[in-house]
Symmetry: C2
Subunit: 362 residues, 2 copies
């Protein structure tokens, strides 16, 4: 399987009335393709986290509305399904965006509603792949430059969490420059942070890099500083959930610690992001971005294999009090640059506005 062919959602080749996804809940222990026959199946897939990652959630909702139209090709039928889908993960911005985009299609005149929705769901996917491709094409230049400086020796990238293909439709965001480097024949290796508590690094990023045959090594989240002190990391690239107008970056908890270590060791620290995740209305990320606290069981329990079967294991004493903040904010001063689909810029209001001048007065 190469990065080119590995998408996370698609129509079943021999049956276009079925949409297929990878059941990410059971990765990496099982590769299970899951069929969506109805919009209710899509609803479950989003709510129960068969799929995760903002772009993929949006795409799954759009394909869900295609399935809804197949069953009931009326404006009312699609709208009812869409309103229900919006409840599956109420805080997912891309979910709302995708549903509203399909709603506009329903309102427009024209025949064959099913085919129009199918084409738009496909377009949502293709556009997301184009965004990842843009990030990859700009980001790969950073890796190419390091490779030249090292006379072709291995370029060591460190990443945190999964901002990979599995979070998008293809290529991912933080991983896109890596996949593009591999295609160019650049010798690249990825240090994969385990990413406690949900282990997206060890269970998703390591899985997808293996599928695409990108050399990688799993490390605990504690290890990055040591590796950087000893010259074993050339660049850090992570994704982000939200970037402020001034370049502060909210991402998976622990990203800030890696940014500090990168700065202390003069290692470039980049954030890869689709411009849709820039929040032009916030400035100070630490002060303004609310940080979600999640279920303590994400910390106390872990999913794995025992005797050839999957099991959920409690690793702590039952009574242990636990706090589980899901994200942290890396201040712009620690970010070397932002890799967007339009290019790379400084993590600052001026830097962002040079790439997105249309937001100057927004």
């Amino acid at each position: 399987m190469t990065a080119e062919t590995f998408r996370t959602i698609w129509q079943k080749p021999d049956d276009p009335s079925v949409v297929q996804i990878i059941d990410q809940r059971v990765l990496p222990h099982e590769y299970r393709v899951h069929d969506l026959h109805t919009w209710q199946d899509a609803d479950t897939a989003i709510a129960d986290m068969y799929v995760r990652g903002a772009p993929l959630i949006g795409a799954t909702a759009a394909w869900g509305l295609y399935l809804a139209a197949l069953a009931d090709p009326t404006s009312a039928g699609v709208r009812a399904a869409g309103n229900a889908l919006l409840q599956s993960r109420p805080t997912a911005v891309n979910l709302r965006w995708a549903v509203e985009r399909i709603f506009r299609l329903v309102d427009a005149s024209g025949d064959d509603l099913v085919e129009r929705i199918r084409r738009d769901a496909q377009a949502i996917c293709d556009e997301d792949v184009e965004i990842s491709r843009g990030i990859g094409e700009h980001g790969v230049e950073l890796l190419a430059e390091i490779s030249r400086r090292k006379s072709g020796e291995t370029v060591n990238v460190l990443t945190h969490c999964n901002a990979g293909s599995l979070a998008t439709i293809n290529y991912g965001t933080a991983t896109a420059p890596v996949y593009f480097a591999q295609h160019r024949g650049i010798d690249v290796h990825v240090w994969v942070d385990e990413t406690r508590p949900r282990n997206q690094g060890s269970q998703l990023t390591a899985w997808e890099l293996a599928r695409s045959e990108v050399p990688h090594t799993l490390i605990v989240d504690n290890a990055g500083g040591h590796l950087m002190q000893h010259g074993l990391v050339d660049i850090v690239i992570t994704g982000t959930d939200r970037t402020t107008r001034c370049g502060d970056v909210a991402n998976k908890i622990g990203t800030y610690l890696k940014a500090l270590a990168a700065r202390d060791n003069d290692i470039p620290f980049y954030i890869a992001l689709p411009s849709t995740t820039i929040d032009w209305n916030t400035r100070d990320g630490v002060k303004e971005i609310p940080i979600e606290e999640r279920d303590p069981e994400e910390v106390s329990h872990i999913y794995g294999m025992v005797d050839g079967k999957t099991a959920r294991v409690r690793t702590t004493e039952e009574a242990t009090p636990i706090s589980n903040f899901a994200f942290d904010v890396t201040p712009a001063r620690l970010v070397t640059g932002l890799i967007t689909e339009r290019g790379i810029c400084e993590a600052s209001e001026e830097g962002l506005l040079e790439l997105f001048p249309e937001m100057r007065d927004a």
Copy 2:
């Protein structure tokens, strides 16, 4: 159970021919007191990590030689046992120190070898408690000062790994100031880093703080930076495996990342250490201290409870390449101070030599 009464090794109250330890392998899921009847039992306890932590390993070896003398109260018998014990964990400095101390006793004249060794094993334990007490008495002043500044509001301490009672005989090193604060009635709360990959935080530190009724909250290693950014940490205190003459500190992997976050947020970062762990012959910790790489299965597998039974679970794909560095080095420039049994000093050669002037020409 209070901190006062909770020791990690003792003679069985109603049978002085038996030495008892806590089987730390099954914590926190089970509290199992394990009987040592023979020096071979002590050997197994050390080799199979029923006990860990340098001071406790040394004490277990000394008590093992008491058991050896009970079985064969001759110089030859004790020496044979001691030489075997030295192989149980060849790199443990305190193990060699304790065995050699007992050997000197064997060589000296006097009667009742068994009672002489028993008294010395007890002395080794009592001396270690005195070291922890010294660290506690000096370190508690830092917490008292913060408490005063906060007008008695909760003092939030963050710690990494287990430098607690369970690693020593009582009080621990990093935890000693906390236990002493509790005794003084200072309102103290500990953020406990999970400490991947071996989870000494979630499985040992959380356990012992609970036993001593010290308020605490378990967090993933990724969370500390976020807590510090938001004023939720007043001081960081960790232990150390080795401190250089210039104040660089080797400790559990990930300590360096917490030191960086503390510095970035102007939070005091202290290391608690018995002076026996100062290596007066090294200066630059990053360059000179070799960092052990351990079994990748420590990362890929985790120990926990499934359906009321303990189980070892694999959390990664079987083929995932893993790197597992056990320690990192925190440069002295990031360390606010060193808490020793003699007092608190700056993390520098001058600071250390003021407390230990006898090492000036060493």
